[in-house]
Amino acid sequence: MSDRIGVEARDRSGEVRQETMIINMGPQHPSTHGVLRLLLELDGETIVSATPVIGYLHTGIEKNTEYRTWVQGITFVTRADYLSPFFNELAYCMGVERLLGVEVPERAHLIRVLVCELNRISSHLVTLATGGLEMGAVSVMLYGLREREVILDIFEAITGLRMNHAYIRIGGVVMDLPEDGPARVRRLLQVLPERIDEYETLLNDNPIWRERNEGVGVLDAAGCARFGVTGPMLRAAGVASDLRKDEPYAGYETFEFDVPTRTEGDAYARYRVRIDEMRESLRIVAQALERLEATPGPVMIEDPKIGWQARLSVGPDGIGNDPEYLREIMEESMEALIHHFKMVTQGVRVPSGEVYQPVEGPRGELGYHIVSDGDHRPYRVHIRDPSFVHLQALPTMLEGYLVADLIAAIASLDPVMGGVDR
């Protein structure tokens, strides 16, 4: 290694020149949030240019959906941004529902809002935890993941899985909340506000946290528009843009909540916005829970061709189908068996058309561009993932800053590579 890098050096002819160094960071680097790779051109500790290189987690989700039924598509899209599976399911299902022209029952809407807002909290907790770890705040990492675990336990109780749930389905949700579901969520509602206070006491006025985050990774509102940046990053730049308010879906207009904003547009402002959003999400969860008690009814639309998935009850051991149902299709009714076979292997045909369905994900506008040619499989599914879009703004946010700031900037951008690479 040359000791002249980044300083003025004389070459053989005696001319003074500036040298820079190219450094490869990632894709196996603990501070790049997964398999993000950055090519950095450095002048000493200062970043001259940064080039993100992506694609290491590409799994062909968009192509895969074209060769599966509409229902099977859910199991793929839920794996795209693995920290916000419910939002992927919701956007995909809402898009297909619009193509089908069906209305979801009220109770299904409430359950969707409930799980999505819990998911928003769990996603922000990971952002906080990993971001903290990267700044050397190990206790924040432990606290954040501890609370996320409580939420994942609730998800497991409701859907059977901690991640990649495939719980939100076309026409509603696949099953109602379990008996102990509301009680579990209520316990969380008691605990979490104090815990969020704890993070704030730990970090808000922490000199190291502020020093590392304030004035770092700045992107103002105009910059956000140029790079298509939405979500907490846009709100931290002073724009109260939130699709739940601006273009309400799934009944969000009936909930009472605020859209937290800051004006600085730096990493610290994004941290504060995310903390405030967790509190707002808790408010929504509390309201959804209250209304769920007063709203009995189906969680899936009646149409048997769409709703069959919710009526395949699970056996007492939690594995396989309900014996009662199996007896009906295997022993009693040939027609029932034929119907079952057709519905499971092909499912519903969706009228041809094209929709773009956005939702407000934890990272920003998550959109699904869905095209149908009238078949029982999607013709084209394109995922507009906010992480993919936001990463483009990274070079602008980094140039001229120090390498140490890069860590804080990436953490505040909160990219999830599963969503970036899809």
Partner: protein
């Protein structure tokens, strides 16, 4: 602003505009694309300043074969419009819109990567998600799916469209 109002507001510039499933869709020629996007961005009361995504759809048995859709939105209040361009199958190119919306950079690279649609004037049109030495454009409908070779001698998992289901 309702979709119908937005459609009426842009009709003077984009005559080929319609509303479908509550979404405003306008079709333009590829030569007019950059001008139309600039107009939509700068026009008072329309101000579609966010380019959200670019989606190519491949219809191999039709002509024009490729459709490129630009999903646009205004930041606040939210208005949405989709601009669509049709491309012939034997010469799929469209002008790059990175000059109007810098965010188009990666979106265009992604669609080039998957469909081989060229975005003329893009600063560096290279593959983005697939390896640089990948051959073919895998999201085209006529691209063979390919099976997966397994560790067992002579065994091969057939491509998904040959497995008989779905």
């Amino acid at each position: 602003m309702s979709p119908e109002h937005l459609a009426a507001a842009v009709r003077e510039r984009l005559p080929d505009v319609y509303v479908a499933r509550g979404e405003v869709v306008a079709v333009v020629e590829r030569d007019d694309l950059v001008d139309a996007l600039t107009w939509l961005r700068d026009r008072e009361g329309v101000a579609l300043d966010l380019l959200l995504s670019i989606t190519v759809t491949d219809w191999p048995h039709a002509e024009p074969r490729f459709w490129v859709a630009y999903d646009l939105r205004s930041t606040r209040p939210v208005r949405r419009l989709r601009l669509k361009v049709a491309l012939p199958g034997d010469d799929p190119w469209v002008p790059s819109v990175t000059g109007v919306h810098p965010t188009a950079d990666w979106h265009e690279r992604e669609q080039f990567d998957f469909f081989g649609v060229r975005f003329d004037g893009h600063p560096a049109l290279t593959r983005i998600l697939l390896p640089d030495d990948w051959e073919g454009y895998p999201l085209r409908k006529d691209e063979p799916l390919g099976g997966v070779s397994t560790w067992f001698e002579g065994a091969r998992l057939p491509p998904v469209d040959e497995r008989g289901m779905a």
